[in-house]
Amino acid sequence: MTTAILYALTGIGLFSLALYSLIVQAHLLRKILAINIMGSGVFLVLIALAKRSDEIPDPVPHAMVITGIVVAVSATALALSMMLKLNTETHHAELPDDQQG
């Protein structure tokens, strides 16, 4: 069980955990949190598997993850402002059909 495999498995764990709560949770802020955690999970898998051999790790996944992080932050910003707009319109922070849930 090298460190790479360990962290990759943690990444998978994060991915599934976040996917579960994305489906289950009703509050939009939690859904956005879940999306971010899911992103971190995927990035963890990407970088962990790059560290399998012991000499310097493969830089390409690192570049990919940096790009991914920037994309994630822009998506989060858009999601948050949309949540706020929905909140001002409907005084709820949940999607209409999740409200009773």
Binding site: T2, L33, F43, V73, S74, A93
Partner: protein, 326 residues
Amino acid sequence: METISLLTWSLDGLLGLSLLWLAWRALTTPDLFKAVVLFIAFGLLITLVWVRLDAPDVALAEAAIGAGLTGALLLSALSRLDSTNSDPAPVNSGEAPVNQKPGRFESIHWWPFLSLVLVSAGLGSVILSMPAAFSGLSPEVNAQLTNSGVENPVTAVLLNFRAYDTLLEMVVLLIALLGVWSLGGGVKHKEPFPGTVLDILTRLLTPVLILVSAYLLWVGAHAPGGAFQAGSVLGAAGVLLMLSGWQLQMNIPVLLIRLILLAGPFAFIAMAAITMMIEGQLLQYPTAHAGLLILLLETLATLSIGATLAALFLGGQTWKNDEESL
């Protein structure tokens, strides 16, 4: 196979488990504020993991953007949420909402839970079955590193080998900002007077932050750092200023703000077009002064990333709709 001493193995195990535990707690605590704080802690912890996995560039980016800025965005959004239901149990229909109850087990929806356990087990076994030794593209990167104009392989990949990705990524930032602005007037950011401590702290910190960002930009060529990390530090400086009541957006002319926002993507596209004309290949820097061109691109990118991240933090109250002059 690196000989796993007990110490490193336990450290990694601890880190991994605490990551999972933090994530689970962040997603299921009834109190939203606690959830956000836990998420920020999660971000910091994952920065540690990146360091552990020899990915310093990513650690820097994660610390600045992943934990820092996203946390700030979440907190500011949380504060602007309609006060009636930002508390844990939204009092809308009286009955206690299902997933808000702290009870641990009866609130789990069994069907998605089981399917996701299966999915993660499957993916886990796939990870285990992957070949142990794997070098990926690092030999090619090292071979071409000399004529990429920079020593730091990650920056080389980001700004030379896969520069096209970075170009599109700058546009992603821009389109996210346009999306946020097109959603229009959010709740006005009512900032009370920040209090003297924060005010003095900001006055001291901002120049330091700008210096750090410039250093990160410069050092990116041969050591971990680069445009994104520098830009996010600059953005953090902007956020700090705005939090401490500086109405930045009021006194900078609108056109200048837009030009700064467009500086990064525009520079990339101009560079692409020029290199296309001269070298016949998109984004093929003449090897002699590739380093210089990359540095130019990076500075402009840092400027626009910083401005965009600060603007994203401001969110709703757009600078654009209180001026109709153009």
